[in-house]
Symmetry: C2
Subunit: 332 residues, 2 copies
Amino acid sequence: MIMDHTDLITTLKVKADQFNDFWIKYFPDGEPASLFEATKHLPSGGGKRLRPVLALLSCESISQNCYDVLPFAAALELVHNFSLVHDDIMDNSTLRRNLPTVHVKYGEPTAILAGDYLFAKAFEAMHDLNVDLDLYKNLNHGLIECILAICEGQQLDMIFEHRATITETEYMDMIKKKTAVLFSLASYGGAEIAGADTTMVTAMKNYGIYLGLAFQIWDDYLDLSSDEQTLGKDIGNDIRNGKKTLIAVNALQIATGTQKTLLQQTFGNPNATELDIHQVFSLFKDLKSIEYARKTAMNFNTKAKQCLGLLPETNTKQLLYHLTDYAIQRVT
Amino acid sequence: MIMDHTDLITTLKVKADQFNDFWIKYFPDGEPASLFEATKHLPSGGGKRLRPVLALLSCESISQNCYDVLPFAAALELVHNFSLVHDDIMDNSTLRRNLPTVHVKYGEPTAILAGDYLFAKAFEAMHDLNVDLDLYKNLNHGLIECILAICEGQQLDMIFEHRATITETEYMDMIKKKTAVLFSLASYGGAEIAGADTTMVTAMKNYGIYLGLAFQIWDDYLDLSSDEQTLGKDIGNDIRNGKKTLIAVNALQIATGTQKTLLQQTFGNPNATELDIHQVFSLFKDLKSIEYARKTAMNFNTKAKQCLGLLPETNTKQLLYHLTDYAIQRVT
């Protein structure tokens, strides 16, 4: 299957729409209306639905009958959305997907509850899974482990903001927990629902980890290299908050002399000016830290694609290759 | 079995200790240490373990082999603790069980995560349940429904604080969701694990609802009638926050003239003085609203005990009767 970027985006959109049509049932109207509205605010605000699409494609790359994967895909996206709602409170983020965050629009107490509600809804979606009970229990456990890891990853992320430096190993552990484990569950869970054998499930588990690492490093890169309009996020915030992206980790590691002083003074300084931010940007370029992060993401991308080798030769397999590349080519 | 109050407290304590010895495994040490410490702060701070003890007794009243009920009991207490951690953030509570609340001690972001962690741990405990998979799936669904109801109940509670009056029906719906459904799950889940038939399960479901309603009305009564030392809660806070207890609902309904004016001016007024609070206390007494709440709790207590009629005549059945009375006799 020869596919250009536009074809891929179109195909992913079709999958995402198929998913959106399905999971809307988890957002009925109800009382108290404020809670129900707050709960659907972020999920109905769009998003690429990468995790559910990944689960769908992973399943379809092995089996032709993948209707059963949809509730599982919904559970993944519900967990992702729950964690975003709570993270945005913790990080004081005001914008997400170009919309006000849930706590900005509905207040913090309602946002905490809306996150909890999405969390519970994820397990409700798992309950709707029409697979044998052993697999249900197994996947449920996978989801629990993921959520525990996501909490640990978010806590590490916050702790790292207040530390002067962290090692690359610590950074990798943090993003693995915060992001990659859920990509991994999407990939291997989709394969398990398709009836894949243990070897294939392990390969897809590793695939998801590498893809997730590549995705997260790229995400941090995008935050630094795009403007507010494109991403719907506050620019410069990462630097002012002292957020430890791979770019920052690398720069803090290799900077010396006045460069190190500049980084130490600006990084994590909430009062840093636009000029300060601009100088840190330039420094990241001079130290080739941006290039380093790019290359690291590409390495993980290559490793991810190697894991797909076992899959039968189908159009869906090719689509997964393209999706994997997309993770480090997307501009939003 | 003839049992006085001291015997009951001793017996409940033995059960609670048995439970505490079991569920401690859900609080290992780990990294990031701050998250693991925050997670165990409230659970290790004591508490009566009423919900798990209820599940144990409910099971033991039907079957002699109830070791399997322990992970289920742990799930209930984990959900209860998760909801307390998040509620305390929403309600700006500073004390719980005479200890600083989690967000006061560890900061709000970590407290949100600690609540999420306890939430996920509840489902991990469910995973440890050694029952047939149909029952596992069924109980898991019961727990999900409970959590959704608890979120709705907490949102209603917060909304009601800002409303001048609410009806008694609205109040009952709110406390049913916020408190009674989890008591109900403890009761009927324990019975299901014991192998109870449908009639018995339904009776225990109703038992838990009535017990939970009685318990919550009594809890609100205690908040108003005890001092800070006894309960570890901020006195007068309920009135300053405009919290709609049954006592308040009743008083607001029947007060007229200057009494109504006093209530309207003090209720929900964060700047109300000690004298204002004292006057409202007196008014509650004059209007017989405290007596009304007492009687209502006692009615639910009677209904709860009627639901126990189907249970085989054992010492555990008698213990459940005593526990039911305890819900409206306890002073803490």
